[in-house]
Structures are given as C-alpha cells and as structure tokens.
C-alpha cells in the first residue's frame, strides 16, 4: 500500500481506536463528498483491521472490539461497494476459500459469525452456511464450492459427536483429502480435536485466520 496521507492515517487511526463516530463521518466524507476511490477506502479499512487483529493477539483488544470493528466496516462497505466499478480482471484476488457452518444439533452462531467476518476481512472468500447444518448439506456445499478449508463450529457438548460424524462422512465420501478441517467453539480443545479427527482447532477468530493463512501458504 502506498504511503498514507494525513487524512488516510486519521481514518485508520480512528477505526483501529474504536472511535466510531469520527471514523464513520470521515469515511462518508471521503467516499461521498471528496471522491476518494472506494477501493482505496476499503484498503484503509483492511489496514485498520490488521491493527485490530494485532491488538487482539497482543491481548489489548477482545470480542467487543472485533464486533464493533465488524460493524464499522459493514457500514463503510455498504457505502463503498456500490461505488466500485471493476474493470475486467481487476477484482481483488482472494487467498483461498473457506466454507463454515455450525454442526447439526447446535444453533449457536456468535463465534462462527465473528470467525467468518475475520476471515473475510483478511482476504478469504468465505461461505457461511449457517447453523444446525446436516452432514449431507456440508457435503453438497463442499462439492459445489470446492473450499480449501472447512470450518465446523459448535458450542454444545453434543457438537463433539456431530463434528466427528461430519468429518467421518467426508472420509466416506472420499473428499476428506481435498481440504483442511478446523473446529472451534466453547468446549473445543485438543481432546475434542483428536476425537473428531479435525486437522486443527482454534480458540478464537484470529487463530482461525492464522490456521487458514498457514494452510494456503501465506505468511502470518
């Protein structure tokens, strides 16, 4: 990214410092009044999110900041995206494809949504297929979407068996080797990872991003 001018640095700072009112007002002014290219503004958002992610990893930021940052970016994205006029072949390249869903029997989605958002903002193409997802639905979606990573989410202890069953079905279908499987959620630990046969587990959204980056060969 080229050097930031004073206004651009200001936007990145306000976004990463959770100064929502000022950040949104400035982003709107840049996009709607000053004609700053929307892709440039979205790039600044990603810059800010890198800082947010780093502060999360360093233990300065926690879930409230990820959630608020997500909301700020959604608001800016909703203004910026309709303004983008892509030339052919100009779409930003994605790092890889991640299919994510909460396993069958479990209706929880807060953690999954944060993981989806963090993967998206970090350059992954994410398909979130929702909650209480039956095994067959995962398989059908995988066959169409061809993901690099499949994320299985679950908060309840019943999810241990649902995850195990889902991953076993991937084996049975003969598709298991085509992608990596990561699992996450309230009760997930190494014991559960071994039990389910997943490749890895993560305890938060940044860990999920780091796992995916490592699997698609991008330095963290």
């Amino acid at each position: 990214m080229p050097e930031l001018n004073a206004q651009e640095s200001q936007l990145v700072e306000w976004l990463s410092d959770m100064n929502e009112d000022d950040a949104l007002a400035l982003a709107k002014r840049m996009l709607l009044e000053e004609g700053v290219p929307p892709l440039r503004v979205l790039e600044l958002c990603r810059n800010a999110m890198d800082i947010v992610g780093k502060r999360f990893e360093e233990g300065e930021y926690f879930l409230p900041e990820l959630v608020l940052a997500g909301e700020m970016l959604e608001t800016i994205g909703a203004i910026a995206k309709p303004l983008i006029k892509h030339a052919p072949g100009e779409e930003p390249k994605k790092l890889g494809k991640v299919l994510i869903g909460t396993v069958h029997g479990d209706l929880h989605d807060i953690g999954k949504n944060i993981v989806s958002f963090m993967l998206d903002i970090n350059g992954f193409d994410v398909k979130d297929i929702g909650i209480d997802v039956p095994v067959q639905r995962f398989i059908d979606e995988i066959n169409v979407y061809q993901p690099d990573v499949v994320g299985l989410s679950g908060f309840l202890t019943l999810a241990f068996d649902s995850m195990k069953e889902t991953i076993a079905a991937f084996e049975k279908e003969g598709i298991r080797s085509r992608f990596k499987v990561m699992i996450g959620g309230g009760q997930i630990d190494e014991t559960v990872r071994a039990y389910t046969g997943a490749d890895a587990f993560g305890v938060n959204a940044v860990e999920a991003v780091n796992l995916c980056r490592a699997w698609v060969g991008v330095a963290a």
């Binding site: 926690f62 409230p64 959630v67 608020l68 807060i110 202890t157 019943l158």
Partner: protein, 420 residues
Amino acid sequence: MKIPIQSVEAKLAYDARWQRVMDTVALRRPDRMAVGLYPMFWLARYAGTTYRDLMYDYERTKQIAEEVVLALDPDIYSPTVMNAALGPALQAIGFKQVQWPGHGVGDNSPYQYLDREYMKAEEYDEFLFDPTGFYLKKYLPRVATAFEGLEEMPTLPGLHYFRLVGGINRFARPAVRKAWQNITTAAEEAERWIAHHVEFTKRMTALGYPLAYGSTSISPYDFIADYFRGATGMMKDLYRHKDKLLQVMDKCVQILLTQTVATAKASGNPIIFIPVHWAADAFMSPKQFETFWWPPFRKLMLGLIDADLIPMPMWEADCTKRLETIRDIPAGKCIYWFERTDMVRAFEVLGDVVALRGNLSPSLMTTGTPAQVDEAVKHLVENVFNKGGSLILDTAFGIPDEAPVDNVRAMYAAARRYGG
C-alpha cells in the same frame, strides 16, 4: 411419590452431608471432600429414555432423578426435576427465548438459548424510568406468548382520581383479557412444576440428601447481555452507550437482589447458584471487566452475603486472568465453581477466600475413559484438597448430557477413594 418419614440414620446422613458443604464454604476442614451432583439431560442417558420424555413426564423424571442420586451418592444435588421437567411450564407460558427438547430442536437436543435483541439500545431510558412498566408492556410480550396483549394495557403511573376510574378501560380490551387468561393458565402449570420440585426435594431430604441450592441469580452484566440486549448488542454498548449501561446495571443490582433474597428465603436454602456467562478472559479486556462486569456483580454478591446467603457463581469458560480481581470478597462466604479455569491456580490465588467447586472437563467426561476420569479426580484431590483446599468436587458445568455412565460412576468412585 411418597414422602417417607426421615429415619434417624437418614437425618444423621443429611446433617453430615450438609455440614461437610458448610465446613467447606467456611474454609474449615470437612471430615472428607464434598462431592456435588448437577445433571441435566444426562438423566435420559442414564435411564435410556429421551430428553423430551424427561421434559414432559414429571413422575418419570422424579423417579430417574432419585435413582441417580442414590446411585452416585453425592453430598449435594441440584434441583434436578426443576431443571429437566420444564416442558409443560415452558409450553404454557409460550416461552420464546429457548428451544427445548421436542420444541424447535430434536427430542434428544438440550435447551438452546436464542440470543436476540429483546430490548433496543434506545429503550434503556424507558427501562430506567419504569422497569415494571417496561416489563409489562414491552419485555414480557417479547419473551413469552402468554403476555402478548399486555402491550394494550393502560400506562398506570399518573392515573389518579376519576382519571383512574376511566383510565382502566383498556383492561376490557379482548387482547388484554386474553393475556390475563393465558398468564393464569401458565401460572397454574408453574405451580404444578414447582410442587413436583418441592415434593422431590422433600423426599430426598427424607432419604438423607440435601439440595444444593434453593434459588438462582445472575450478574447484572449477564442479565442485560443475555436477556435484553443480546451478546453483540451488549458488546457494542460498551462503546456506544457506556454511561447508560452502567446506570442500568447499577439499578439492576437492587432489582436482582430483592428478587433473589425473596426466593432464597422462601426456599429455606442459603446457596444461590449464579451461572456466569460473560466474565471469561477471552470476552473482554481486564479494564472492561473491572469497569463493567465486576463492580455490579461484587455489589450483588455483597448484598447476598449481607442477607446471610451463600453466592455460588459458576464461572464459565476460562477465567484464570480474573482470579486476582474476583478475590476481593469477604472470606469464607462463597463457593466459586470453575469451568475451564485451572483449578490448581484458582486454589493458589483464592484458597484462603472462597470454597472451590469443579471441574472435570466436559471433553474428558464425554470422550475419555474411566481410568482417565479417575486420574483427573486424583489430580484435583492431590493438588487442591490434600493441600488444604476447600474443594467440592464436581464436573465443569454439570455432567455433560452425552457422558458415558461408566465415566460418571468413575468420578464418584474416585472422589470417595481419594477424597476420604
């Protein structure tokens, strides 16, 4: 279900069990390590029935719960019938905030809470100004169908003299009349549900087993986050509505205290079970925890202690980084039940302040072997109880519904083997 006369042996056993727990709370050395029991739908696994059957069959649930208590022989047991046989009462009130076995989820799926925004951020002022009015006309119809129609009730404060006489005319509206009828029906079912719980508790008392707690409460932060604003709404409020949130939580301390003390006194049991959802290390920063979460909760706990009650927060997830902060409470008055917090570390930091409860991990209880469970119990006994720790041995947040029966038996056998 018959309630036998308590025999002399049963009375002695009851007193010994209760004394064991009270000694543990007071940080005195008990005669042996106390063991708790908190199953939910694991009863179904034990008896080979479905969760749905437990939910809708009071008699069968009481029978299974009794078999489980007698088989595992704990020092205290949770209000098992009340927790598992809730189907008719939920149905009658038309409860919208959870799905339960056979209702929105499968016959063998547990309760699943529906995290939604049940109060908008713009409604904080309304709640603050008149909580009862807000409950009647906004909150209750949103959370249970029995209350639908109360939106049309008159606004009561301000009615006076002839204005009062005429102002009640809205109670004649069909929607309001219907709501009161539905509420009465729901209340009758609630009476039945509570009567079954009381009957079961009396029977277990007669057999020598004390109930673990007589009422529940909640931290002001979790109260607003879980049941009003929704998890993500609340997180955004930490930035967007900071002052309002602090004001509301301060008001809720008194509201929750009044409610909890009244229920606890009626139950005759001093222990207050407080599931803690949002205190975990991973959820908010230490500064946010010390600003938003801990002060109102500490105030609530101090109020309970002042009323001669024993708060028993169950600190869900990993709260290891909160230990130094939550130490700030009078010694010998609380039970801290930990889920994923390292119990040995908790003992080091809190051992001279609170009794500890827990914490065999759900993954171990569900996917491990009896030998591994035995080993985990031994670890806790050797590193906490035998080192002078006031420990009530238990699972991390109750027996996981899916835990194999042999693993659970292994836990109670190991507790007796190693804990005296």
